[in-house]
C-alpha cells in the first residue's frame, strides 16, 4: 500500500493506494473507506471505492482543498487492513443457456472447451466483489480463470436483459437493469440486484465473495426468472 492523494476535480480528490488489481487490495480499500467516512463526517459528499482507489468528493464550502488533503493523510496514517472474512458470501443461482447466454458457445470455443466445461469453470471459483459501478448494484467481480477470460465484444449490444451474467477479460458481473453492454453473456439470474440497490442496501458489496451455481430452467422460472431469449440486435 502506497498512499497518493491526487487532485481529481474542484472538490474531488483521488486517494490512490495500489497500482495493480489484486484481491488482497480489498482489505485496505475497505479500511480506508471506513476511516475516511469517519474523518470527513458531514463534509463528505460521496466516496466511491474501486479496485485500487477511492474517489473522495468533499464539500468545499466546509473544507479547503489543502484541509481535505490533510484530513485524508491524517485519517489514513495508521491504517490497518480490514477483516475481509467479515464480507458476506453469496450463492447466485444462474440458468446457463444459449437463449439467455448467447455467448456461451463462442467463449467455450475460444477456450477450447465444451459449454458444460465452461459452466463448470465459471461456477468453480469464488469471486471477490471489487467495486460497485456502471449501474445501481452492479458489482465488478473477479478474477475469472485465465482459461475462460474473454475480451469484451467489439460492438456492445444495445440491449442486455436484467439479470444477465457476463464475463469481460478476467472479470464477471450481473446486469441489475436492462442496459447496453459489451460483456460476453453466459446466462441469467433471478436475483433482484436493482431492487436491493434502490433501497440503499446493495446485495453485493465490495469485499463480499460470490459463487455461481448452475440451475435448470424450471428452477429459474420458479425463482421468478424471465426466460425471454436475448435477441441479437446490433
Amino acid at each position: 500500500m502506497k498512499l497518493r492523494i491526487e487532485t481529481a476535480g474542484m472538490e474531488a480528490l483521488m486517494v490512490r493506494l495500489f497500482d495493480t488489481i489484486d484481491v488482497a487490495n480489498m482489505a485496505w480499500v475497505l479500511a480506508a473507506d471506513q476511516a475516511l467516512r469517519e474523518a470527513f463526517g458531514d463534509a463528505l459528499i460521496d466516496l466511491v471505492p474501486s479496485y485500487t482507489t477511492l474517489l473522495l468528493h468533499y464539500d468545499c464550502r466546509k473544507l479547503s482543498h489543502a484541509e481535505a488533503q490533510a484530513c485524508i493523510r491524517h485519517a489514513l496514517s495508521d491504517l490497518t487492513p480490514a477483516d475481509t472474512q467479515q464480507g458476506q458470501r453469496h450463492d447466485i443461482p444462474v440458468w446457463y443457456d444459449e437463449s439467455v447466454g448467447p455467448d456461451l458457445s463462442r467463449v467455450a470455443t475460444r477456450a477450447g472447451i465444451s459449454i458444460a466445461q465452461l459452466i463448470e469453470q465459471h461456477c468453480q471459483d469464488e469471486y471477490c466483489v471489487f467495486a460497485l459501478g456502471f449501474a445501481p448494484g452492479y458489482g465488478f467481480m473477479g478474477l475469472v480463470d485465465d482459461a475462460i477470460a474473454t475480451p469484451r465484444l467489439t460492438t456492445p449490444r444495445r440491449h442486455v436483459a436484467a439479470g444477465s451474467v457476463g464475463i469481460a477479460d478476467r472479470q464477471t458481473a450481473i446486469y441489475p437493469l436492462p442496459s447496453p453492454g459489451g460483456w460476453n453473456l453466459l446466462g441469467r439470474t433471478a436475483v433482484p440486484l436493482f431492487e436491493h440497490a434502490k433501497r440503499g442496501e446493495p446485495l453485493l458489496r465490495p469485499g463480499d465473495s460470490v459463487r455461481f451455481r448452475a440451475i435448470s430452467r424450471e428452477e429459474f422460472e420458479a425463482q421468478g426468472g424471465d426466460t425471454t431469449p436475448m435477441e441479437e440486435r446490433s
Binding site: R4, E6, T7, A8, G9, M10, E11, A12, M14, D19, T20, I21, D33, L44, I45, D46, L47, V48, P49, S50, Y51, T52, T53, L54, L55, H57, C60, R61, S64, H65, A66, A131, L132, G133, F134, A135, P136, G137, Y138, F140, L177, S179, F194, A197, K198, G200, P202
Partner: protein, 311 residues
C-alpha cells in the same frame, strides 16, 4: 375545491423532474443526476423563495411542450430562452409570473441555451428515492411514476406549497447563456501528465466544438486528436465534469448522469460552473478549455453560492 395542478397537454422531447442531485450513493453505483445547469435551477427556486434544492422541471429544447393550468399559480422560469409563451404572449426567462386557470404555457425551440428550469411553489410533488427527486432514465430512478421517465402527455404536476415570495433577480446577477468562444475552466488531474506535450498544448490553445453526441451522461468535444502514454486505466471513480479521453483522442466531458466509475485517462475535470455552462451549449458551439487551480475554482464557487444566501 381540488388542488391546483398543471396538466401536460403535449410533451416535448425531454422534460425531467430534477433537484440538485442524488448524493452519498455513488458507492452503490448510483449516478448523481440532478439539474445539469444547477445555477439556473437554484435561481428558479430562489425567485419563489423556495429552499434551493426544491424539485423543479428541467426542460430540454422545448419542442412544443405545453402545460395548462388548473387553478392559479406563480411559477419561476430561468435558464435557456426556449421561446416560451403564456397564452401566445412571449415570456422572458429569469423572472416569476402568474399562470391563471386555463392558461397555457408553451415552450417552442431554443433561442439562447438549451435547458430551461421551471420552479413551483414549495417544489414539485414527486417521489423521493435514495434521498433525491432527481430523475435518471437509465437507472429507472425518480420521476412521477418512479421509473425515471420524462413527462408524458396527460400527466399532472402538483406542488408542495401555496405561498411564495415574488423575488426579482437583480439585473447585474442575471446569468447569461454561453455563446460561441466561451471559456470552460478545468482543474487539471494527475493523469494530465500522461498526455503528450503537444496534446496538452492543443487541449488548451485550440477551440473545441460541442458535438451532437451530447446528453445528460456526457458531452463529446471534437477538435485536435489528443494522445498520451495511457490508453486505459484501472477503473476508478469519475467526478462531475471529468474530461476523459478514449482511444480516438476526442474528449468526452462526463456530466450529471455519468457512470460512477470508468477506465479512460482524464485531463482533469471542468468546474461545476463550467459544467452548467456546457449543459446550455448547442451542438456546434465553440468552447475553450482553460486551466484553473482547485483553490481558485473553489473561491469562485463560494462567491456563486453567496448570491443565494439572502434567506
Amino acid at each position: 375545491m381540488s388542488q391546483a395542478a398543471l396538466e401536460i397537454k403535449q410533451a416535448g422531447p425531454l422534460a425531467l423532474i430534477q433537484d440538485a442531485g442524488r448524493f452519498g450513493v455513488g458507492h452503490l453505483g448510483v449516478t448523481q443526476g440532478g439539474a445539469a445547469d444547477w445555477i439556473a435551477f437554484y435561481w428558479a427556486n430562489w425567485l419563489l423563495g423556495n429552499p434551493l434544492n426544491s424539485p423543479a422541471l428541467e426542460i430540454v429544447m422545448g419542442g412544443g411542450l405545453t402545460l395548462e393550468a388548473h387553478g392559479e399559480v406563480r411559477l419561476a422560469l430561468t435558464g435557456a430562452d426556449l421561446a416560451a409563451t403564456l397564452d401566445g404572449q412571449p415570456l422572458a426567462p429569469n423572472a416569476s409570473f402568474i399562470l391563471r386557470s386555463g392558461q397555457q404555457l408553451v415552450f417552442q425551440q431554443p433561442r439562447h441555451g438549451l435547458r430551461a428550469y421551471l420552479a413551483f411553489p414549495g417544489g414539485l410533488d414527486a417521489p423521493r428515492v435514495l434521498g433525491s427527486h432527481a430523475c435518471t432514465a437509465r437507472e429507472q430512478l425518480g420521476g412521477l411514476q418512479e421509473d425515471g421517465q420524462p413527462l408524458k402527455a396527460g400527466e399532472r404536476l402538483t406542488w408542495q406549497g401555496n405561498t411564495h415570495e415574488a423575488r426579482k433577480l437583480p439585473e447585474h446577477l442575471v446569468p447569461s447563456m454561453p455563446t460561441s468562444g466561451c471559456r470552460l475552466p478545468l482543474v487539471l488531474g494527475s493523469q494530465a501528465a500522461s498526455f503528450s506535450g503537444s496534446s496538452l498544448f492543443k487541449a488548451f490553445n485550440t477551440p473545441w466544438q460541442v458535438d451532437n453526441r451530447a446528453d445528460r451522461m456526457g458531452v463529446r468535444l471534437t477538435g485536435p486528436v489528443l494522445n498520451g502514454s495511457l490508453t486505459g486505466i484501472i477503473s476508478e471513480g469519475i467526478p462531475l465534469g471529468a474530461v476523459q479521453v478514449p482511444p480516438d483522442g476526442q474528449p468526452i466531458v462526463l456530466m450529471n448522469d455519468r457512470q460512477t466509475i470508468g477506465g479512460y485517462p482524464r485531463l482533469g475535470a471542468l468546474t461545476p460552473s463550467a459544467c452548467a455552462a456546457l449543459a446550455q451549449c448547442l451542438p456546434g458551439t465553440e468552447v475553450w478549455l482553460t486551466p484553473i487551480s482547485a483553490s481558485h475554482a473553489q473561491a469562485d464557487y463560494r462567491r456563486q453560492h453567496a448570491q443565494w444566501a439572502t434567506d
